[in-house]
Amino acid sequence: MILVRESQTAVLERGLDLTDQWATEPFETAWAGEARWFVQFLERGSGSVSLHSQISADGLTWVDHEDAPVSGEAAGILTAPVRDFGHWLRLVVTPAEGTVAPLVRIVLSLKE
């Protein structure tokens, strides 16, 4: 019997109007060995955003992951991989001042 790798794609935001710094809801990821964020701008915005994974041992208190933030224009798709994240994972999206991003989808892709 071929064992396939467990996986989950979770849509954490599907219509976010990004006006201030935003943290996704806590997500339990203990079973996964690797993850990748997809931040899709469904309507073209203006300005730029940075993405930073945060991790937690309890889902209540959060600390930045060691990886450097990923930054880019608020258009198309921004993506960021993350590994060695322990038990809980969330994404903090920080828009630069004056950024417009009215319809943002945030997806977490997890694999064993």
């Binding site: 979770a10 599907r14 219509g15 809801e25 806590p26 339990e28 209540l60 208190t61």
Partner: protein, 321 residues
């Protein structure tokens, strides 16, 4: 060797013997045909966020506002600040439905099947419910009816409700829901501990498309008007176990009859409830694209605004057809 007088009895006895010797199945009482046995140590098993209907362009704006944000289920180890990984009833993982910290918000997990017959249909589950723990020196030490006294904890009053329900359709588009809700507390933290059911069918995206309904974010999608809910029987106290980081698993069993389109009975631990007189409202309009639809969903709704969680250790769906 002699031929049994009643071969069906022998088959039932053999089935019972095999089931009772299986540690995974012996905690259930399935009807003869097991349609699904979901142990979340091996993945999501098709339990997925209830998604709203969208238009042919896939546009976010075409989703009903109260159907846009039912949250993805999580494979959870029941992990908490005070003990770390609690673990599930069987193995490490449970399925967790988690609301946002927003009053009225609902999280759902739905499983989509179809019916290959009519008759008795049963869902069983081992479940636990919690409000999110608080670690904050400035937090209140009481909420509603629950003031911390070493036994009672405000967290218990911060949990709103969990629901198990169906979406069923067949016989030329006759669609209906059966719904069981445990209403633990109201938005002010008054403890209710009531079993409830709605007397209207759930508003559908087609009704919204036709302009008949339009509900805001965090509406109670199952039946938006509180006046459309009825209380069944007397309150039942469950085992929340004092604090939000102790998980005790409860046995739920619910039988419906898809031939008669009726409820049959509900069991939660040692309380067996005759639900045969609980009405099952049917949509007046007929629905296409749903022939033999068989969906079960669980949902959890916070009223306090504290994140509410419903954990499912394992689920078994069985039928007598």
């Amino acid at each position: 060797m002699t031929t049994p007088a009643h071969p069906d009895d022998t088959a039932a006895s053999l089935r019972e013997a095999i089931r009772s010797s299986d540690p995974h199945l012996s905690k259930f009482r399935p009807l003869p045909r097991i349609l699904a046995h979901d142990d979340f140590n091996t993945g999501l098993h098709g339990w997925v966020e209830l998604g709203g209907n969208y238009n042919g362009k896939g546009e976010y704006g075409s989703l009903d506002r109260h159907f846009r944000d039912f949250r993805p289920p999580q494979l959870s180890t029941c992990n908490f600040f005070d003990v770390g990984t609690h673990g599930a009833m069987s193995g490490t993982y449970a399925l967790k439905l988690a609301t946002r910290p927003h009053p009225g918000h609902t999280a759902t997990g739905i499983r989509r099947l179809t019916m290959s017959g009519r008759g008795l249909l049963q869902i069983e589950a081992y479940l636990a419910y919690k409000a999110e723990a608080v670690v904050d020196p400035s937090a209140e030490n009481g909420f509603g009816d629950m003031e911390w006294d070493g036994n009672r904890h405000p967290s218990e009053a911060q949990f709103g409700a969990f629901t198990v329900a169906t979406d069923l359709c067949g016989d030329d588009g006759v669609r209906y829901h059966t719904v069981v809700r445990y209403q633990n507390a109201d938005e002010d933290g008054n403890m209710l501990r009531q079993w409830r059911y709605p007397i209207v069918p759930e508003p559908t995206p087609r009704e919204a498309y036709e302009g008949k309904v339009d509900y805001p974010y965090a509406t109670d999608f199952t039946a938006p008007d509180p006046e459309d809910w009825r209380v069944y029987g007397q309150p039942q106290e469950l085992c929340m176990n004092e604090v939000p980081t102790k998980v005790n698993w409860h046995y739920l069993r619910w039988v419906i009859d898809t031939d008669k389109r009726k409820n049959v009975e509900v069991q939660l631990n040692d309380q067996l409830m005759d639900w045969s007189d609980v009405p099952v409202p049917i949509y007046e309009d007929r629905y296409g694209s749903l022939e033999n639809l068989l969906n079960f969903y669980f949902s959890v709704r916070t009223l306090s605004g504290q994140r509410n969680f419903l954990y499912l250790d394992s689920v078994l769906i069985s039928a007598d057809w």
